[in-house]
């Protein structure tokens, strides 16, 4: 098993980008990966959770998983694809966990234990009045997004982020480009319908 891990690291080190820099050890390769992908990973997570603190915590979890599993990377996809796939999985797991906690949290809010403002996403505007309105709108959007199926949610949010083509999204989600386009289309329609129903009722 040790030999296979060493062979995997050696294989990664022989890819063009690492060969140029002369990196051979796992730690060196890992540091390089963090430098190259940290911004993209944090922003991918941010698209899912709308919260800077949670996004950074999730990104940390992603890179820890990358370090843990780097020995077992099979080169079936690009390293970057593999890293972003971990980021999407961790983000979706986090949202599922929050959903479970929220069910219990509703009771805590009723009895006055929990601070409801802790759940609001980071404000988009510095103007307090605008920030409050935007916070409310962001919460509505986040609720509607969380009701989408995971596949639609992931495809749609990745498509909204600069730097991901439909082909890259298909590689991350292990599906075809046409499937990604279909998922994005259905996600937009479902999101629109949910938001329409919400604003019709409120």
């Amino acid at each position: 098993m040790q030999n296979r891990a060493e062979a995997t690291i050696a294989g990664i080190a022989q890819t063009r980008s690492f060969q140029k820099s002369g990196m051979t050890s796992k730690e060196e390769i890992f540091r390089s990966l963090v430098t190259e992908h940290q911004e993209m990973v944090i922003n991918t997570c941010y698209r899912f959770v709308f919260n800077r603190e949670d996004a950074e915590d999730l990104a940390q979890d992603v890179f820890v998983e990358v370090f843990r599993s780097l020995d077992q990377f099979r080169e079936e996809s690009k390293l970057s694809t593999w890293i972003y796939r971990i980021a999407v999985t961790k983000s979706l797991d986090h949202l599922r966990r929050i959903k479970r906690v929220k069910r219990f949290g509703t009771l805590k809010r009723i009895i006055g234990v929990e601070d409801p403002s802790a759940e609001l996403p980071a404000p988009f505007s510095e103007n307090p009045a605008e920030a409050l309105a935007e916070n409310e709108r962001a919460k509505i959007l986040q609720d509607a997004l969380n009701r989408l199926p995971d596949s639609q949610k992931a495809a749609f949010l990745l498509s909204k982020q600069d730097g991901f083509s439909n082909q890259e999204i298909a590689d991350i989600l292990k599906t075809s480009v046409s499937a990604v386009e279909s998922l994005i289309h259905r996600a937009k329609k479902n999101l629109h319908d949910r938001l329409y129903t919400y604003y019709q009722q409120h």
Partner: protein
């Protein structure tokens, strides 16, 4: 006609709100990476894989072991409670049976049931002498 206009106006308002809400995703400004992020990450990796790997145990496996130990303890407590409960029920059942048997035994040794305990010296009042002397 006025109602149609109101409905159309209402629909337009709703669509406007929906559009503004969905646009938030496009307006989301990308985060700039905090320079402490990488420092914290490397510290965490050293903590979980540096010292831990030397001792042969990661933080995750230590956490898993504690959970496993707690589960085993709960299982032992539950089984012990169940066994004690069953034993207590059996003891009560046995005591009940013994008491019942004792009570039955007592019934059959009372005077009312002692048909053959009377001796010849004891007078037997049958009522016949009374009839004969009248």
């Amino acid at each position: 006609m006025k109602q149609d206009y109101m409905m159309k106006h209402n629909r337009e308002n709703i669509e406007c709100e929906v559009g503004k809400t969905m646009q938030l995703l496009d307006e989301l400004k990308p985060l700039e990476v905090d320079h402490h992020f990488r420092v914290r990450l490397m510290q965490r990796v050293d903590r979980e894989f540096g010292e831990g790997s030397k001792k042969g145990r990661s933080g995750f496996s230590r956490y898993f072991d504690v959970r496993l130990a707690l589960m085993a303890l709960l299982l032992v407590i539950n089984l012990s409670t169940a066994l004690l409960s069953i034993k207590s029920n059996n003891t009560q059942f046995s005591a009940g049976i013994s008491e019942l048997l004792d009570n039955m035994g007592d019934d059959y040794t009372t005077q009312e049931f002692a048909y053959y305990d009377q001796t010849a010296t004891q007078p037997v009042d049958t009522g016949v002498d009374t009839i004969l002397t009248q």
